[in-house]
Subunit: 380 residues, 2 copies
């Protein structure tokens, strides 16, 4: 592994910290009087009051404020299946962001199993103490079933952030990018490269928002109902996209397209591919750290609004714009399911923070303190 100067600094910092979060008491325990309230004997009255009553537990215990950030390490960042321990530093980072951006208390839990049924049972069994479940870095396609089953079974919000966090921020950015180029979501031709967690959820949310003309590609090409090799979740995608039954690869998809959203990986497209698109093209190349096409190359191909996942280019599409506010809002408002309507409202709220979108400013800055508040407030 090449170790960059930043990597070296990151390694040194992690060694110094030995974990990026700390658990601290919310009240001091300095003497017996404190102890008699925080612990025995006073705690017994609280235990009897909240037992078997989730609503009371939300008010009197950590269940009202605590989110579990859970991963099996099967698809961590762009690193692939690196398992529970490999996932842990990422989940700790996420917990740090939850607190920093939205004052949400979040606990990393990494799992010593990658079996979907075992994952589901484990999450169900540890759920009582939590007010929300952020699923993270579970590989597709199992992530879809795991999330669906947990959403159905639990009465607390469950969200797979790789799906919906990404979809919300992409939609927010796209709303403003379309304003910049004077096009409409309902009529825009949208191409999504990548049918994994992020691609599938983005396609779904764009449809909910009104998009009618979406093509989605996996590594074999455009997903269309005629293809014989489709898994269940791709069959669902085929049924809800590509109504003109276009076949082929990226070039066929891009012909006349208004928007390209890359959530697949580096080396997808060149300037000559972008030239196949309609005038005033929008390109979101979100693979990290290396985008599907570099911004200067996309520009050379005629793209007018370009976004990436990186902080060193304009228009960073980053989940941190969504997940802290989503869970903050869900906890504040007693929301039990993160519905499509909630995701849509969150995306619109996020987009609204940029009063006058330009080609280099379609999303708010992730350190903008209004972000989590506005997203949280949008969730009722």
């Amino acid at each position: 592994m090449n170790t960059s100067p930043n990597d070296k600094k990151a390694l040194a910092l992690h060694k110094k910290l030995q974990g990026k979060i700390r658990i601290v008491p919310a009240a001091k325990v300095k003497n017996r009087a404190d102890l008699s309230l925080v612990y025995t004997p006073g705690v017994a009255a609280v235990s009897m009051y909240v037992k078997g009553d989730a609503e009371r537990a939300r008010q009197y215990t950590m269940k009202g404020r605590m989110v579990a950030v859970i991963s099996d390490g099967s698809a961590v960042l762009g690193l692939g299946n690196i398992g529970a321990l490999g996932a842990l530093p990422v989940m700790e980072g996420k917990a740090a962001l939850f607190k920093t951006f939205a004052d949400v208390d979040a606990v990393p839990i990494v799992l010593d199993t990658q079996d979907p049924e075992e994952i589901i049972q484990t999450v169900l069994r540890i759920a009582p103490g939590f007010g929300g479940i952020n699923l993270e870095d579970f590989a597709a396609p199992k992530c879809f079933d795991i999330e669906r089953r947990l959403v159905e079974a639990l009465d607390i919000p469950v969200m797979h952030d790789d799906q919906h966090g990404t979809a919300i921020v992409v939609l927010a950015g796209l709303i403003n990018a379309l304003k910049v180029v004077g096009k409409k979501l309902t009529s825009a031709r949208i191409v999504i490269s990548g049918a994994g967690a992020a691609g599938a959820a983005t396609a779904n949310l764009l449809r909910v928002a009104g998009a009618t003309n979406i093509l989605i590609l996996d590594s074999k090409g455009i997903i269309t109902e005629g293809r014989a090799d489709l898994t269940r979740h791709k069959l669902e995608l085929a049924a809800s996209t590509n109504f003109s039954h276009i076949t082929g690869g990226l070039k066929e998809a891009l012909a006349g397209a208004d928007v390209l959203i890359g959530v697949s990986g580096p080396g997808l497209a060149k300037a000559s591919d972008i030239k196949l698109m309609a005038p005033k093209a929008i390109v979101f190349a979100l693979a990290n750290p290396t985008p599907e096409i570099m911004p200067d190359e996309a520009k050379k191909g005629g793209a007018v609004v370009i976004a990436t996942g990186r902080s060193d280019f304009p228009n960073q599409v980053n989940n941190s714009l969504a997940f802290p506010g989503i869970f903050r809002g869900a906890l504040d408002n007693g929301v039990r399911k993160i519905t499509d309507d909630i995701k849509l409202k969150a995306a619109k709220a996020l987009a609204s923070l940029v009063k006058k979108p330009t080609a280099t400013k379609i999303l708010p800055d992730m350190f903008d303190k209004r972000v989590a508040k506005v997203v949280a407030k949008s969730i009722r």
Copy 2:
């Protein structure tokens, strides 16, 4: 439920706090430079470095400092089986004590299952991110098997505190109580009332410490090898205690006994029972909040050293004297199993903090800042 003034204060405090712990980042995330170390892209180098390597994870992640406090709520305090939500305020209080007394970061996890096999599987699956497991308020006898299986399967310390925390503090107190009355552990006749988690573990640890003459009673009377109704863990107790095969109830057990340890419940004994004991009797009446015999009644019966679980009488036997230091020491010293030898050392270290034991001072104060340090240091 009668609500005492203290209960009312406890309820009000819990409502105000909404949970007694908070998760805070160990490092500030104020700008993109911070983010590039704590989260992407820098975190990827850490993930690749620690993946599949528990030793590196201990150094670079929360695994080096974080203990899970896990309960199924099947035997919470003296409240019985009040389930996951009922257990949550107690586990939060425990997490607050872990931090306050020993700077151990502890996360409460309450389980939506009371099935031993499901409990074991769940704990195994969430274990990778933790450096220790504190099992709490699991009912006997399932607690014995659950702990044994987890200790065998995991390479991090697992301790059921209701068993071993209690046993360690009882042994520490008894070491000093015996000094006060001028008797020896090896020859003392010891009666334990209660063959649940605390009673069984106490009997075992006292034997490890050198006690040779122990009788243990359950609700049916003295446990002896002849009894037909013994479960597996009681058969084990029968094999390691009561070598004179004494039968009967409390009165038969107490005849000539030097020590009575009550871990069963209120209303066990009267002054007339204590009078059956040998001169200079020692009575530990540890049921909370109402002891097996009140101190003045025990004194009337001739007891010379009397301990309870309460803070409003001398000689409080409280697990908080043990568990924070035990886990602090285990984390500091890379201890993978809390062995009998470790428990013995911890008890002796705890006892050593009282330089000149007296009838009303056999244990250090739980707010004595030396306690966790000395216990932790004893664990090598």
